[in-house]
């Protein structure tokens, strides 16, 4: 399953300057692994040392935070859009 993955500015330098890439996988975790396989420089930014997502990374599947869906196990369908977004202080303060 090929899905589009939107990368935040700070990851683009590790992905040849691309803001959007294509990655394969049937779950969010598999797609993230494929991003790391294609662009190994993103690994330390995406993955926590003990596995799972880096604590300052939010992954959104069609604009829904996957931590509140099924986490890395969340299935992704054809045409899905994944956004990798760093956690920052919110704008509503």
């Amino acid at each position: 399953m090929s899905v589009s993955v939107r990368l935040p500015t700070i990851l683009r330098t590790h992905a040849g300057g691309l803001s959007e890439i294509s990655a394969e996988g049937g779950t969010v975790g598999e797609v993230v692994d494929d991003v790391v396989r294609q662009f190994p420089g993103t690994s330390s930014h995406l993955k926590a040392p003990g596995g799972g997502l880096h604590r300052f990374v939010n992954v959104y599947l069609d604009d829904e935070d996957v931590r509140y869906l099924g986490g890395l196990e969340t299935p992704v369908g054809a045409g899905a859009k994944l956004s990798i977004v760093p956690a920052v202080a919110g704008g509503w303060g």
Binding site: R6, T9, I10, D63, D65, S83, G90, G91, W92, G93
Partner: protein
Amino acid sequence: MAPFDSVLDLIGNTPLVDISALSPKPSVRILAKLEGQNPGGSVKDRAAKAMIEEAEKEGRLGPGSVILESSSGNTGIALAMICRIRGYHLLVVLPENVSAERRQMLAVWGAEIISSPGAEGSNGALRAAQALAAEHPEWFFPYQYANPANPKAHYEGTGPEIWRDCPEITHFVAGLGTAGTLMGVGRFLKERNPAVQIWAVEPPSGETVDGLRNLDDGFVPPVFTDNDGPELLDRKMIVRARESIEWTRRLTDVGIFAGVSAGSAVAAAAKGAEQLDEGTLVALVADGGWKYLSTGAWTDDLDEVVERANRLIYF
């Protein structure tokens, strides 16, 4: 109604109004909690008052005290109003790309503005404030992102008000920000009825904030982690600028002139309503539209407003 002793006594007890006319499904009600009715103009009056009163109780503030806070606007404005009344001097670290009205409102109340780089967003303002606070331990730094008085104001105020006015609530929808509103209201409502769902809404700020040097500059509010945010929330979604502005405009159809974050919250509620068979969703309208007039959010071409929104902190 008996006269109030102080404007600060007008904070809270905001009205809840039925806006189901905007619901995509007649069987799903949507209500709006109008926080723009607070005297300082936003939901932030609640946390600001609670943080100041807590510090006063602890003896940390006295005549002429200096207070420092980082804010994208509303918290700064709320603190500025209270500091004016109480005689404290307020310094607000504000990203340079907020709407003009926010600076004007801070000036009205006599607060001093310290600008932080716009590209760094609220994250940059927070970092700058933390650095200044470390240099000046004699200043009081409420640090809204970590101050327990922030969620407490909502646990003791906003939450009980919603439960009193609408015990049939099934979903509460609000912007994440410091997480104070969601944690306080969420905890209160779940204690009353564990089935109530708590939904968080965020602008896609992490995508556009270019000031991050690396991910370790990222930030999750301590208010969120200290209150078991991941457990308390049932859903977290991004609402993009276009949809937020479209819904901010749609709110005027029911007579609500609100800020753009209200458009996001109501957009999320409407999206949720489409997916439900029945329910009663309460969306938090954090402020009125006044501070956004200069952005042309209601009147300019939608594409232009959206383009501008990606450069300006609208929320």
